[in-house]
Assembly symmetry: C2
């Protein structure tokens, strides 16, 4: 892709191009932040309005049955299952990623240590998303266990030994976009007698995931990134069927009870994945999440995640090559892997001193990426709605911004709470 | 209140009557289920639409700052604080009631047992809402503690002794409407060296609550009942300032971190109540919750919770008296306390055999109450939008339904998942 016309030609030939029509992206906006908050599907406002004004406003309490609110969490879970190599009845949408991690890490530790109490370690990476590390740190403290962090992925295999209870990793790294080999690491964990727990926050809807095929034990993921579920959308939780009924998770709320409306005092967990529900589901947010998941499922008729993956790689390869050629000499260095097999659906560059201001200056030009401390410029490529011409134009805007040193402007250097 | 005209006259003289105009309740509907799911405020659809279509749809990731999404949880918490005798900065809206209970019960147990490890008991009631008991049961199992349940409230004082770590109660009982004396029981708990944790699910927005004045240690509550926050609205959590920074709760997600966007691996809890946040807040559901809370705060200019309480008691007294006189001989027996001081904002009757079908037959007549197993007909009185004529008409419909034995119809005897 050496000219803008070539980019336009690639879009014209793209069999997934029409999927962008599910969204209403304003002209001139190049949104490379779908890995932080996916864009709003066109269908969402009407669906949410229906839930608010009709199902709640008119149907009131009766809508728990008549509008199927009770089935939202498993129904959306079944849809997400299709995107992550799982089967119906294995996944539910609920709570936040952090809360779901607490549930499955509790389960994983209890199951892994049942016959091997000497396994005292949760193994993860220092570069894992912080909330995952915080939850693991808290659980380790509660249970008198140890959280051991690898400084880079290459150290992981050596940490998978008889002391390891659970290997807890995020499939695609939030800062670098580096993707682990889920099957290989799961196999190593199992060979060491440990269990493998995967955070799919930057994977679900972004790259093909095969939980069953890889032998994974537990997984969680985010609803508001590549699944386009809206700000703070509920997350999801998956448990391998062989483990699903071996544990009562400690967030033993009534929606995970075998018969929530019997109102009996003793906890009896529901069969299967439903026991990973806790409190009353957030119906409005779930309805929006379902609209988002449907936009990804719309690709199923056109090759599904495999086709999306091909487009994502083509986009990120083109973007990377263009930045390296056209923005050379500005101090940006590629952080994401060049190797397709090791890269998720984002491309990151580091700048030693001015990354934050550069991202802000680029946003002012209509190219929305984000900054991740301390030095990362992050560009997410959501193949569902991004075009090759977006990749081309993004690089051109980046080049102009850097050439004009716009990042020096004071307004781009004032840090806000969230970038 | 002996005639319908008297009821109409009471409504005409009611200084809170105009608060009903905040809602769009269809003519003929008498909704006595606001203690299960509050009605939709007129303001909610437009506000939710604004959040979806503008803040998310147009503002995208930038709305975390520009639309104040980061401040929603503490801002709504501050509003709820006004209704429960708390101060700004002491309460946040987040997660579900069950998840929040896990946080504060974890904290309460750790703090209570820090200097008194022999305190091995969580004391509660067998008739507490089941999800509270499930969470307590799970936590007790995790920590090797004991959950001790009183069969009736009179047994509680004797259980508050040197073995008790935490007294965990729901202020207003979900089945009977019986209300505890929060100050007296908290004082008894403290005298025994224990801490007091209150579930305000049926209290917040329904009865005056004075958390600070009563000396309470921890509280949680529900957003979708009397606070009109919508189906599955986020819940809230309050911690007495003297305890707020004594504990890192185990659901140590990034939103409870002192600097969430530093993305540093070690958990440093935020000061004060913010450390009781966990994952990314469910923005759509929080926006709807805020509209609901605002409908209750609208009463502040007209006497606030004290005035709402007077009206609630007048409604429930009138309803009870009318049922006892006009529906005598049909086998209904009052379960809620006659004594105003012991009754929340609901009135419950038991029927030994046909309670479920009776509730269904009454719903078919436009009077929506609910059934709580095994034998309770439950009628919630939300003074914010109910009228005296509603109480009158509800009894008249109940009387006719019972007289005609409509509950015998087969269609009213088929149990659905939720009633």
């Amino acid at each position: 892709m050496n000219t803008r016309d070539e980019a336009l030609a690639l879009d014209a030939a793209d069999p997934l191009a029409h999927l962008r029509e599910q969204f209403d992206i304003r002209p001139g906006l190049i949104y490379l932040d779908g890995n932080s908050l996916g864009v709003m599907p066109k269908a969402t406002p009407a669906r949410v309005q229906q839930v608010v004004a009709q199902e709640w406003g008119t149907g009131l309490i009766g809508s728990w049955n008549s509008a199927g609110w009770m089935d939202l969490a498993p129904r959306i879970g079944d849809k997400i299952a299709q995107l992550i190599g799982a089967k119906p009845g294995e996944c539910v949408a609920a709570d936040s990623t952090s809360v779901n991690l607490f549930k499955v890490l509790s389960a994983a530790l209890t199951i892994a240590r049942a016959d091997a109490p000497q396994r005292m370690r949760i193994v993860s990476e220092r570069s894992n998303f912080p909330t995952d590390l915080y939850i693991a740190e808290a659980l380790a403290a509660e249970r008198g266990l140890e959280l051991v962090l690898a400084d880079n992925p290459e150290e992981l295999p050596a940490l998978l030994d008889a002391r390891c209870a659970v290997l807890m990793l995020t499939h695609v790294n939030y800062r670098t976009g580096r993707m682990h080999d889920m099957a290989a690491l799961t196999q190593l964990a199992h060979a060491a007698g440990a269990l493998a727990l995967w955070d799919l926050a930057h994977s679900a809807g972004a790259v093909p995931v095969d939980l069953r095929g890889s032998g994974a034990d537990f997984a969680i993921g985010c609803g508001y990134k590549y699944l386009n579920g809206g700000p703070g959308a509920p997350a999801f939780v998956w448990v391998a069927p062989r483990h699903a009924e071996r544990f009562w998770q400690p967030l033993a709320g009534w929606m995970g009870h075998a018969a929530p409306f019997e109102f009996t005092p003793g906890y009896r967990p529901a069969p299967g994945i439903r026991r990973y529900l806790c409190g009353t589901p957030a119906v409005l947010s779930l309805a929006a999440l379902e609209c988002g998941v449907d936009t990804v499922l719309a690709a199923e008729a056109h090759g599904g995640m495999a086709a999306l993956r091909q487009k994502s790689l083509a986009l990120s390869r083109a973007f990377t090559a263009l930045v390296e050629v056209r923005c050379a000499g500005f101090g940006l260095s590629l952080v994401s892997p060049h190797d397709d097999a090791q890269r998720g659906s984002q491309v990151c560059f580091a700048h030693p001193t001015h990354g934050y201001a550069m991202v802000q200056a680029l946003i002012a030009r209509g190219v929305v990426g984000d900054f991740r401390a301390p030095d990362i410029l992050r560009f997410g490529f959501t193949p569902l709605y991004l075009r090759f011409v977006d990749a081309w134009d993004a690089v051109e805007q980046l080049r102009q911004m850097l050439s004009h040193e716009e990042w020096r402007e004071a307004r781009f250097n004032q840090k806000a709470a969230v970038t």
